[in-house]
Symmetry: C3
Subunit: 109 residues, 3 copies
């Protein structure tokens, strides 16, 4: 049994939890702030059998990897009337920091 501690961005949490729930894995969600990632992250605790570890890590990579997303800002135009031009920019989102620890005993009571 391994414990996977994944620090992921808040915006990726629900997609990740959907994917792992679909394959029967469970996560505990700890409130966390700052640190490894830009603000707004969640620390997830998973317990997995060794043979399922790679699958979980793949799912984390797939759902949380860092990527650029288009964000459309409305840029104000200086002039006699208040107007805005839609202004698309690319911003990096996502990314996760993942630790795998060995579990000596795993008990359900």
């Amino acid at each position: 049994m391994k414990m996977v501690i994944a620090i992921v961005q808040d915006k990726d949490v629900s997609k990740l939890l959907q994917c792992v729930t679909r394959v029967g894995l469970r996560a505990t969600r700890l409130a966390s702030t700052g640190g490894f990632l830009r603000s707004g992250n969640t620390t997830l605790l998973f317990g997995v059998e060794e043979e399922r570890l790679e699958g979980l890590l793949s799912t984390i990579r797939d759902t949380c990897h860092q990527r650029d997303e288009m964000l459309t800002l409305a840029q104000p135009i200086m002039g006699p009337v208040d107007a805005h031009i839609p202004f698309p920019i690319e911003v990096p989102v996502g990314g996760a920091t993942v630790f795998v620890l060995d579990v000596e005993q795993f008990i359900k009571v």
Copy 2:
């Protein structure tokens, strides 16, 4: 030294903490949600000497094991007056997920 990470139901936390405090153990309580157990759980972090590990696990089993509890609902009776019949049902409560990890160094500063 071992680290015990126990995810227990909120309703079992105070009884468990009373029991472990009585034998001189300490726990740190992390805010947590969802996951291994039905909603409303708490993640507890314990540091214990190897010779006290079994005692701690027994205490967790004793105070948090899954069991049925009688819950008395008030069932409304359809009729000319608003009346209720006490209606006892059995609901499963408790249960805990426990991970034991090896601690390489334990330091008090």
Copy 3:
């Protein structure tokens, strides 16, 4: 790679995070209560390379060790007018509980 789990008093957190950030280390901050220390503590999660472990532990010792601080209370004087004498006392503050765990895999995605 090692994981360092440090439970420190709230009042020492910002100084510690400043010090570790200055040397390029990151921490994730978990909301926590009670337990190993008097109320008002924070659980910090660090991932460090083995060669930087001793430096991190020194920084935790330096910024969080238990020490006495002077606290000036205003003691009321019983008398015809409401008066107070400044009354300095020494109170113990700080202290940290630190666990070092081995990390089998560390992944950034």
